[in-house]
Amino acid sequence: MLLAEGLHHAFGRVVALDGVSFSLAPGQTLAIFGPNGAGKTTLLKVLAGLINPQAGSARVDGGRRAIGWIGHQSHLYGHLTVRENLLFWGSLYGLSAARRAARAAEVLARLDMSDRAGEPVWSLSRGLLQRAAIAKALVHDPAVLLLDEPFTGLDLAAAGQLRVLLGELHDGGRMMVLATHNVDEGAELATDVAFQRRGRFVHFAPRGTRSAAEIAAAYRRAMADG
Amino acid sequence: MPEVPQNAGYLVAAYIVTAVILLGYTLSLYRRSSKG
Protein backbone atom coordinates (compact mmCIF):
# COMPACT_ATOMS: atom_id res chain seq x y z
CA MET A 1 0.00 0.00 0.00
CA LEU A 2 1.16 3.51 -0.80
CA LEU A 3 -0.70 6.41 0.81
CA ALA A 4 -0.30 10.16 0.22
CA GLU A 5 -2.48 12.57 2.21
CA GLY A 6 -2.78 16.35 1.82
CA LEU A 7 0.80 16.91 0.61
CA HIS A 8 1.90 20.56 0.62
CA HIS A 9 5.42 21.71 -0.14
CA ALA A 10 6.95 24.94 -1.43
CA PHE A 11 10.45 26.16 -2.16
CA GLY A 12 10.31 29.77 -0.94
CA ARG A 13 7.39 31.22 -2.93
CA VAL A 14 7.39 28.48 -5.62
CA VAL A 15 4.57 26.05 -4.75
CA ALA A 16 5.54 22.49 -5.70
CA LEU A 17 2.78 20.50 -3.98
CA ASP A 18 -0.58 22.11 -3.26
CA GLY A 19 -2.71 19.38 -1.65
CA VAL A 20 -2.00 16.04 -3.37
CA SER A 21 -3.73 12.96 -1.96
CA PHE A 22 -4.02 9.50 -3.46
CA SER A 23 -3.44 5.89 -2.58
CA LEU A 24 -2.09 2.98 -4.59
CA ALA A 25 -2.74 -0.73 -4.10
CA PRO A 26 -0.40 -3.58 -5.16
CA GLY A 27 -0.44 -4.16 -8.91
CA GLN A 28 -1.42 -0.58 -9.72
CA THR A 29 0.76 1.66 -11.89
CA LEU A 30 0.11 5.40 -11.74
CA ALA A 31 1.37 7.53 -14.63
CA ILE A 32 1.63 11.22 -13.73
CA PHE A 33 1.77 13.63 -16.65
CA GLY A 34 2.49 17.31 -16.27
CA PRO A 35 4.66 20.13 -17.62
CA ASN A 36 8.10 20.77 -16.15
CA GLY A 37 7.77 22.60 -12.85
CA ALA A 38 4.39 21.05 -12.04
CA GLY A 39 5.98 19.45 -8.96
CA LYS A 40 6.18 15.88 -10.27
CA THR A 41 9.77 15.33 -9.12
CA THR A 42 9.01 16.89 -5.74
CA LEU A 43 6.08 14.53 -5.34
CA LEU A 44 8.23 11.50 -6.14
CA LYS A 45 10.98 12.72 -3.80
CA VAL A 46 8.42 13.09 -1.01
CA LEU A 47 7.14 9.54 -1.66
CA ALA A 48 10.75 8.29 -1.61
CA GLY A 49 11.48 10.07 1.68
CA LEU A 50 14.08 12.38 0.09
CA ILE A 51 12.03 15.42 1.08
CA ASN A 52 9.82 15.65 4.15
CA PRO A 53 6.75 17.66 3.11
CA GLN A 54 5.87 20.91 4.87
CA ALA A 55 2.34 19.57 5.38
CA GLY A 56 0.59 16.24 4.89
CA SER A 57 2.17 12.81 4.91
CA ALA A 58 3.27 10.06 2.57
CA ARG A 59 3.70 6.48 3.65
CA VAL A 60 4.71 3.22 2.02
CA ASP A 61 4.23 -0.10 3.78
CA GLY A 62 7.73 -1.37 4.58
CA GLY A 63 9.28 2.11 4.52
CA ARG A 64 12.52 2.77 2.59
CA ARG A 65 13.32 -0.95 2.29
CA ALA A 66 10.33 -1.31 0.00
CA ILE A 67 11.12 1.61 -2.31
CA GLY A 68 13.02 1.45 -5.59
CA TRP A 69 14.06 4.76 -7.21
CA ILE A 70 14.96 5.29 -10.84
CA GLY A 71 15.89 8.89 -11.58
CA HIS A 72 18.48 10.71 -13.64
CA GLN A 73 21.37 9.46 -11.51
CA SER A 74 22.62 5.89 -11.91
CA HIS A 75 23.75 5.49 -8.26
CA LEU A 76 26.47 3.20 -9.60
CA TYR A 77 30.17 3.48 -8.72
CA GLY A 78 32.19 3.58 -11.93
CA HIS A 79 35.24 1.74 -10.63
CA LEU A 80 33.21 -1.09 -9.09
CA THR A 81 31.95 -3.91 -11.27
CA VAL A 82 28.21 -4.25 -11.94
CA ARG A 83 27.95 -7.14 -9.47
CA GLU A 84 29.97 -5.31 -6.80
CA ASN A 85 27.56 -2.39 -7.11
CA LEU A 86 24.54 -4.66 -6.75
CA LEU A 87 26.08 -6.43 -3.75
CA PHE A 88 26.88 -3.08 -2.08
CA TRP A 89 23.35 -1.74 -2.56
CA GLY A 90 21.91 -5.10 -1.52
CA SER A 91 23.77 -4.89 1.80
CA LEU A 92 22.41 -1.39 2.43
CA TYR A 93 18.90 -2.74 1.94
CA GLY A 94 19.58 -5.31 4.67
CA LEU A 95 19.85 -8.39 2.45
CA SER A 96 21.97 -11.20 3.87
CA ALA A 97 25.16 -12.09 1.96
CA ALA A 98 23.56 -15.16 0.38
CA ARG A 99 20.28 -13.40 -0.41
CA ARG A 100 21.96 -10.45 -2.13
CA ALA A 101 24.22 -12.70 -4.20
CA ALA A 102 21.14 -14.62 -5.37
CA ARG A 103 19.14 -11.44 -6.03
CA ALA A 104 22.03 -9.88 -7.97
CA ALA A 105 22.28 -12.91 -10.24
CA GLU A 106 18.51 -13.07 -10.66
CA VAL A 107 18.12 -9.39 -11.53
CA LEU A 108 21.06 -9.43 -13.95
CA ALA A 109 19.56 -12.47 -15.67
CA ARG A 110 16.16 -10.74 -15.95
CA LEU A 111 17.83 -7.73 -17.63
CA ASP A 112 19.98 -10.16 -19.64
CA MET A 113 23.15 -8.52 -18.42
CA SER A 114 24.62 -11.58 -16.73
CA ASP A 115 27.56 -11.51 -19.13
CA ARG A 116 28.44 -7.97 -17.95
CA ALA A 117 28.41 -8.72 -14.22
CA GLY A 118 32.20 -8.60 -13.88
CA GLU A 119 32.75 -5.46 -15.90
CA PRO A 120 33.42 -2.06 -14.30
CA VAL A 121 30.44 0.25 -14.68
CA TRP A 122 32.49 3.00 -16.35
CA SER A 123 32.96 0.74 -19.38
CA LEU A 124 29.20 0.33 -20.02
CA SER A 125 27.34 2.04 -22.88
CA ARG A 126 24.49 4.44 -22.07
CA GLY A 127 21.81 1.85 -22.72
CA LEU A 128 23.59 -0.77 -20.61
CA LEU A 129 24.15 1.82 -17.86
CA GLN A 130 20.40 2.52 -17.80
CA ARG A 131 19.67 -1.21 -17.49
CA ALA A 132 22.29 -1.56 -14.75
CA ALA A 133 20.63 1.35 -12.90
CA ILE A 134 17.28 -0.46 -13.15
CA ALA A 135 18.95 -3.64 -11.92
CA LYS A 136 20.21 -1.67 -8.91
CA ALA A 137 16.69 -0.33 -8.23
CA LEU A 138 15.28 -3.89 -8.33
CA VAL A 139 17.99 -5.74 -6.39
CA HIS A 140 16.04 -5.51 -3.10
CA ASP A 141 12.77 -6.47 -4.84
CA PRO A 142 10.98 -3.24 -3.92
CA ALA A 143 7.19 -3.21 -3.43
CA VAL A 144 7.05 0.31 -4.91
CA LEU A 145 9.04 1.48 -7.91
CA LEU A 146 9.30 5.26 -8.39
CA LEU A 147 10.43 6.41 -11.85
CA ASP A 148 11.26 10.07 -12.48
CA GLU A 149 11.37 10.83 -16.22
CA PRO A 150 13.02 7.44 -16.99
CA PHE A 151 12.76 7.92 -20.77
CA THR A 152 14.67 11.19 -21.00
CA GLY A 153 17.97 10.91 -22.83
CA LEU A 154 17.18 7.49 -24.29
CA ASP A 155 17.18 6.85 -28.01
CA LEU A 156 14.16 5.14 -29.61
CA ALA A 157 15.56 1.61 -29.26
CA ALA A 158 16.54 2.02 -25.59
CA ALA A 159 13.17 3.64 -24.80
CA GLY A 160 11.39 0.73 -26.45
CA GLN A 161 13.42 -1.78 -24.47
CA LEU A 162 12.66 0.13 -21.27
CA ARG A 163 8.95 0.16 -22.04
CA VAL A 164 8.96 -3.64 -22.55
CA LEU A 165 10.91 -4.12 -19.38
CA LEU A 166 8.61 -1.94 -17.27
CA GLY A 167 5.66 -3.83 -18.73
CA GLU A 168 7.11 -7.09 -17.40
CA LEU A 169 7.56 -5.57 -13.94
CA HIS A 170 3.80 -5.56 -13.44
CA ASP A 171 4.15 -9.05 -12.01
CA GLY A 172 3.21 -9.85 -8.44
CA GLY A 173 2.14 -7.05 -6.15
CA ARG A 174 4.59 -4.43 -7.38
CA MET A 175 3.32 -0.81 -7.47
CA MET A 176 4.79 1.75 -9.81
CA VAL A 177 4.60 5.54 -10.00
CA LEU A 178 5.95 7.02 -13.22
CA ALA A 179 6.31 10.77 -13.73
CA THR A 180 6.98 12.23 -17.16
CA HIS A 181 6.30 15.42 -19.08
CA ASN A 182 5.99 13.43 -22.36
CA VAL A 183 2.43 12.12 -22.55
CA ASP A 184 3.32 9.66 -25.34
CA GLU A 185 5.52 7.64 -22.98
CA GLY A 186 4.18 5.31 -20.36
CA ALA A 187 0.45 5.86 -20.90
CA GLU A 188 -0.02 2.25 -21.99
CA LEU A 189 1.77 0.97 -18.86
CA ALA A 190 -0.59 2.77 -16.51
CA THR A 191 -3.56 1.33 -14.65
CA ASP A 192 -4.29 4.85 -13.36
CA VAL A 193 -3.56 8.26 -14.90
CA ALA A 194 -3.09 11.69 -13.29
CA PHE A 195 -2.44 15.13 -14.77
CA GLN A 196 -0.46 17.39 -12.43
CA ARG A 197 -0.36 21.15 -12.78
CA ARG A 198 1.02 23.74 -10.38
CA GLY A 199 1.29 21.17 -7.61
CA ARG A 200 -2.23 19.76 -7.91
CA PHE A 201 -3.88 16.76 -9.59
CA VAL A 202 -6.21 18.34 -12.11
CA HIS A 203 -7.20 14.82 -13.25
CA PHE A 204 -6.90 11.49 -11.43
CA ALA A 205 -8.76 8.41 -12.65
CA PRO A 206 -8.24 4.79 -13.68
CA ARG A 207 -7.09 4.45 -17.29
CA GLY A 208 -9.92 2.07 -17.99
CA THR A 209 -10.15 1.32 -21.72
CA ARG A 210 -8.75 4.69 -22.83
CA SER A 211 -5.99 4.38 -25.38
CA ALA A 212 -2.71 6.26 -25.13
CA ALA A 213 -3.96 8.65 -27.83
CA GLU A 214 -7.19 9.38 -25.97
CA ILE A 215 -5.22 10.09 -22.78
CA ALA A 216 -2.85 12.38 -24.69
CA ALA A 217 -5.83 14.31 -26.09
CA ALA A 218 -7.43 14.59 -22.63
CA TYR A 219 -4.10 15.79 -21.25
CA ARG A 220 -3.75 18.52 -23.88
CA ARG A 221 -7.31 19.69 -23.20
CA ALA A 222 -6.64 19.78 -19.45
CA MET A 223 -3.43 21.76 -19.96
CA ALA A 224 -5.01 24.13 -22.48
CA ASP A 225 -7.94 25.61 -20.50
CA GLY A 226 -6.13 28.47 -18.75
CA MET B 1 59.05 55.08 42.84
CA PRO B 2 59.46 53.71 39.29
CA GLU B 3 58.57 56.36 36.78
CA VAL B 4 55.19 55.82 35.00
CA PRO B 5 55.86 54.74 31.35
CA GLN B 6 54.89 57.42 28.83
CA ASN B 7 52.84 55.49 26.22
CA ALA B 8 49.75 57.68 25.82
CA GLY B 9 50.26 57.62 22.04
CA TYR B 10 49.27 53.97 21.89
CA LEU B 11 46.22 54.67 23.99
CA VAL B 12 45.00 57.36 21.60
CA ALA B 13 45.69 55.12 18.60
CA ALA B 14 43.67 52.26 20.09
CA TYR B 15 40.71 54.50 20.92
CA ILE B 16 40.72 55.99 17.45
CA VAL B 17 40.89 52.58 15.77
CA THR B 18 37.96 51.33 17.87
CA ALA B 19 35.89 54.39 17.01
CA VAL B 20 36.73 54.04 13.30
CA ILE B 21 35.69 50.38 13.23
CA LEU B 22 32.41 51.00 15.07
CA LEU B 23 31.52 54.07 13.00
CA GLY B 24 32.57 52.28 9.84
CA TYR B 25 30.25 49.38 10.59
CA THR B 26 27.39 51.74 11.47
CA LEU B 27 27.91 53.46 8.12
CA SER B 28 28.07 50.14 6.30
CA LEU B 29 24.77 49.07 7.84
CA TYR B 30 23.21 52.41 6.89
CA ARG B 31 24.55 52.27 3.30
CA ARG B 32 23.42 48.66 2.77
CA SER B 33 19.93 49.42 4.00
CA SER B 34 19.37 52.46 1.83
CA LYS B 35 20.89 50.95 -1.34
CA GLY B 36 18.04 50.85 -3.91
Binding site: - | A8, Y10, L11, A14, Y15, V17, T18
Partner: protein
Protein backbone atom coordinates in the same frame (compact mmCIF):
# COMPACT_ATOMS: atom_id res chain seq x y z
CA UNK C 1 8.85 52.94 14.10
CA UNK C 2 10.33 50.15 11.93
CA UNK C 3 12.79 47.64 13.27
CA UNK C 4 15.57 49.25 11.25
CA UNK C 5 14.96 52.68 12.79
CA UNK C 6 14.71 51.24 16.26
CA UNK C 7 18.08 49.54 15.71
CA UNK C 8 19.59 52.76 14.44
CA UNK C 9 18.40 54.69 17.49
CA UNK C 10 19.89 52.12 19.84
CA UNK C 11 23.17 52.24 17.92
CA UNK C 12 23.26 56.04 18.01
CA UNK C 13 22.58 55.97 21.76
CA UNK C 14 25.34 53.38 22.15
CA UNK C 15 27.82 55.51 20.19
CA UNK C 16 26.93 58.57 22.27
CA UNK C 17 27.49 56.63 25.48
CA UNK C 18 30.72 55.32 24.00
CA UNK C 19 31.88 58.93 23.80
CA UNK C 20 30.99 59.10 27.49
CA UNK C 21 33.20 56.06 28.13
CA UNK C 22 36.02 57.74 26.21
CA UNK C 23 35.79 60.90 28.26
CA UNK C 24 35.48 59.03 31.53
CA UNK C 25 38.34 56.66 30.75
CA UNK C 26 40.72 59.25 29.33
CA UNK C 27 40.06 62.13 31.71
CA UNK C 28 38.46 60.84 34.87
CA UNK C 29 40.09 57.45 35.50
CA UNK C 30 43.48 57.23 37.22
CA UNK C 31 46.47 56.03 35.22
CA UNK C 32 47.69 52.59 36.22
CA UNK C 33 51.23 52.99 37.60
CA UNK C 34 52.90 50.01 36.01
CA UNK C 35 51.50 49.93 32.47
CA UNK C 36 50.98 53.68 32.12
CA UNK C 37 48.19 55.23 30.06
CA UNK C 38 48.25 52.33 27.56
CA UNK C 39 46.55 50.25 30.24
CA UNK C 40 43.36 52.19 29.49
CA UNK C 41 43.11 50.37 26.18
CA UNK C 42 41.70 47.72 28.46
CA UNK C 43 38.40 49.47 28.81
CA UNK C 44 37.66 48.78 25.14
CA UNK C 45 39.75 45.66 24.48
CA UNK C 46 38.27 43.35 27.10
CA UNK C 47 34.56 44.21 26.67
CA UNK C 48 34.96 43.79 22.90
CA UNK C 49 36.59 40.39 23.42
CA UNK C 50 33.81 39.33 25.79
CA UNK C 51 31.17 40.27 23.23
CA UNK C 52 33.09 38.73 20.32
CA UNK C 53 32.86 35.44 22.17
CA UNK C 54 29.33 35.88 23.51
CA UNK C 55 28.14 36.65 20.00
CA UNK C 56 29.48 33.27 18.85
CA UNK C 57 27.69 31.46 21.65
CA UNK C 58 24.47 33.26 20.68
CA UNK C 59 25.01 32.24 17.05
CA UNK C 60 25.24 28.65 18.28
CA UNK C 61 22.11 28.87 20.41
CA UNK C 62 20.16 30.54 17.60
CA UNK C 63 21.35 27.79 15.26
CA UNK C 64 20.25 24.96 17.55
CA UNK C 65 16.74 26.34 17.84
CA UNK C 66 16.66 27.08 14.10
CA UNK C 67 17.40 23.46 13.25
CA UNK C 68 14.56 22.29 15.49
CA UNK C 69 11.98 25.00 14.91
CA UNK C 70 12.91 25.89 11.29
CA UNK C 71 11.94 29.48 12.17
CA UNK C 72 13.63 31.88 9.72
CA UNK C 73 13.83 34.58 12.42
CA UNK C 74 16.40 32.51 14.33
CA UNK C 75 18.44 32.13 11.18
CA UNK C 76 18.40 35.89 10.58
CA UNK C 77 19.45 36.46 14.20
CA UNK C 78 22.34 33.98 13.88
CA UNK C 79 23.57 35.69 10.71
CA UNK C 80 23.33 39.09 12.40
CA UNK C 81 25.12 37.96 15.56
CA UNK C 82 27.92 36.42 13.49
CA UNK C 83 28.52 39.61 11.54
CA UNK C 84 28.49 41.78 14.65
CA UNK C 85 30.77 39.28 16.43
CA UNK C 86 33.24 39.66 13.56
CA UNK C 87 33.28 43.44 14.03
CA UNK C 88 34.01 43.12 17.75
CA UNK C 89 36.71 40.52 17.06
CA UNK C 90 38.27 42.99 14.63
CA UNK C 91 38.38 45.58 17.41
CA UNK C 92 40.14 43.11 19.71
CA UNK C 93 42.64 42.12 17.02
CA UNK C 94 43.53 45.77 16.33
CA UNK C 95 43.59 47.13 19.88
CA UNK C 96 45.42 43.99 21.07
CA UNK C 97 48.68 44.59 19.21
CA UNK C 98 48.46 48.36 19.93
CA UNK C 99 48.26 47.44 23.64
CA UNK C 100 50.95 44.72 23.29
CA UNK C 101 53.60 46.97 21.72
CA UNK C 102 54.15 49.31 24.72
CA UNK C 103 53.60 46.62 27.36
CA UNK C 104 55.48 43.68 25.82
CA UNK C 105 57.57 45.41 23.21
CA UNK C 106 56.12 43.33 20.37
CA UNK C 107 53.08 43.89 18.21
CA UNK C 108 51.80 40.32 18.56
CA UNK C 109 51.85 38.31 21.78
CA UNK C 110 50.32 34.87 22.14
CA UNK C 111 48.33 36.30 25.02
CA UNK C 112 45.46 33.97 25.83
CA UNK C 113 42.67 36.38 24.96
CA UNK C 114 44.32 37.62 21.80
CA UNK C 115 44.96 34.09 20.56
CA UNK C 116 41.45 32.87 21.30
CA UNK C 117 39.97 35.92 19.57
CA UNK C 118 42.15 35.25 16.54
CA UNK C 119 40.74 31.72 16.31
CA UNK C 120 37.27 33.12 16.81
CA UNK C 121 37.91 35.56 13.96
CA UNK C 122 38.80 32.66 11.61
CA UNK C 123 35.64 30.91 12.76
CA UNK C 124 33.56 33.97 11.88
CA UNK C 125 35.24 34.38 8.50
CA UNK C 126 34.50 30.73 7.73
CA UNK C 127 30.87 31.20 8.81
CA UNK C 128 30.35 34.29 6.67
CA UNK C 129 32.10 32.66 3.68
CA UNK C 130 29.91 29.56 4.00
CA UNK C 131 26.77 31.69 4.04
CA UNK C 132 28.01 33.51 0.96
CA UNK C 133 28.98 30.35 -0.89
CA UNK C 134 25.54 28.72 -0.74
CA UNK C 135 22.98 30.41 -3.01
CA UNK C 136 19.80 28.67 -1.92
CA UNK C 137 18.71 30.53 1.28
CA UNK C 138 17.13 27.52 3.03
CA UNK C 139 20.19 25.33 2.38
CA UNK C 140 22.55 28.15 3.37
CA UNK C 141 20.66 28.66 6.62
CA UNK C 142 20.86 24.96 7.48
CA UNK C 143 24.57 24.71 6.68
CA UNK C 144 25.31 27.89 8.64
CA UNK C 145 23.39 26.46 11.59
CA UNK C 146 25.52 23.30 11.56
CA UNK C 147 28.71 25.38 11.53
CA UNK C 148 27.31 27.77 14.15
CA UNK C 149 26.64 24.93 16.58
CA UNK C 150 30.12 23.45 16.02
CA UNK C 151 31.59 26.94 16.49
CA UNK C 152 29.82 27.41 19.80
CA UNK C 153 31.09 24.05 21.03
CA UNK C 154 34.61 24.99 19.94
CA UNK C 155 34.73 28.11 22.15
CA UNK C 156 35.39 26.17 25.39
CA UNK C 157 38.08 24.10 23.63
CA UNK C 158 39.76 27.24 22.36
CA UNK C 159 39.81 28.52 25.93
CA UNK C 160 41.07 25.21 27.30
CA UNK C 161 43.88 24.77 24.81
CA UNK C 162 44.93 28.43 24.89
CA UNK C 163 44.82 28.91 28.67
CA UNK C 164 46.34 25.46 29.23
CA UNK C 165 49.10 26.52 26.83
CA UNK C 166 49.55 29.80 28.66
CA UNK C 167 49.84 28.33 32.13
CA UNK C 168 52.91 26.53 30.87
CA UNK C 169 54.56 29.87 30.14
CA UNK C 170 53.43 31.87 33.23
CA UNK C 171 53.54 35.55 32.62
CA UNK C 172 54.47 37.91 35.44
CA UNK C 173 51.48 38.08 37.75
CA UNK C 174 51.53 41.88 38.05
CA UNK C 175 50.76 42.33 34.39
CA UNK C 176 48.01 39.74 34.45
CA UNK C 177 46.50 40.49 31.05
CA UNK C 178 43.40 38.38 31.26
CA UNK C 179 41.30 39.05 34.37
CA UNK C 180 40.91 42.79 34.94
CA UNK C 181 41.06 42.90 38.75
CA UNK C 182 40.81 46.63 38.93
CA UNK C 183 40.32 48.92 41.91
CA UNK C 184 37.24 51.15 42.41
CA UNK C 185 36.90 53.80 39.76
CA UNK C 186 38.75 51.79 37.13
CA UNK C 187 36.31 48.94 37.58
CA UNK C 188 33.39 51.36 37.27
CA UNK C 189 34.74 52.64 33.94
CA UNK C 190 35.25 49.08 32.77
CA UNK C 191 31.69 48.08 33.70
CA UNK C 192 30.34 51.22 32.04
CA UNK C 193 32.21 50.27 28.87
CA UNK C 194 30.91 46.71 29.02
CA UNK C 195 27.38 48.08 29.26
CA UNK C 196 27.97 50.30 26.22
CA UNK C 197 29.34 47.39 24.18
CA UNK C 198 26.24 45.40 25.11
CA UNK C 199 24.05 48.21 23.83
CA UNK C 200 26.11 48.43 20.64
CA UNK C 201 25.75 44.68 20.12
CA UNK C 202 21.97 44.89 20.48
CA UNK C 203 21.68 47.91 18.19
CA UNK C 204 23.88 46.38 15.49
CA UNK C 205 22.12 43.00 15.61
CA UNK C 206 18.69 44.61 15.28
CA UNK C 207 19.86 46.65 12.31
CA UNK C 208 21.50 43.67 10.60
CA UNK C 209 18.40 41.55 11.31
CA UNK C 210 16.19 44.22 9.73
CA UNK C 211 18.60 44.27 6.76
CA UNK C 212 18.08 40.55 6.15
CA UNK C 213 14.32 41.14 6.23
CA UNK C 214 14.72 43.94 3.71
CA UNK C 215 16.80 41.78 1.35
CA UNK C 216 14.35 38.91 1.61
CA UNK C 217 11.40 41.11 0.68
CA UNK C 218 13.37 42.70 -2.14
CA UNK C 219 14.30 39.46 -3.92
CA UNK C 220 11.28 37.50 -2.73
CA UNK C 221 13.28 34.75 -1.10
Amino acid sequence: MSLLHRGRWITLLGLALLAGVYVRALAFTPVERLQGPAQKIYYLHVPAAIWAETAMVLVGLGSIFYLFLKDRRLDRFAAASAEVGTVFAAIVLTTGPIWGKPIWGTWWTWDARLTSTLLLFFLYIGYLLLRGAVRDPALGARYAAVLGICGMCLVPFIHLSVYLFRTLHPQPIILKPSAPSLPGSMLATWLFSLGVFTLLYVGFVIQRYALSLLWEERNGA
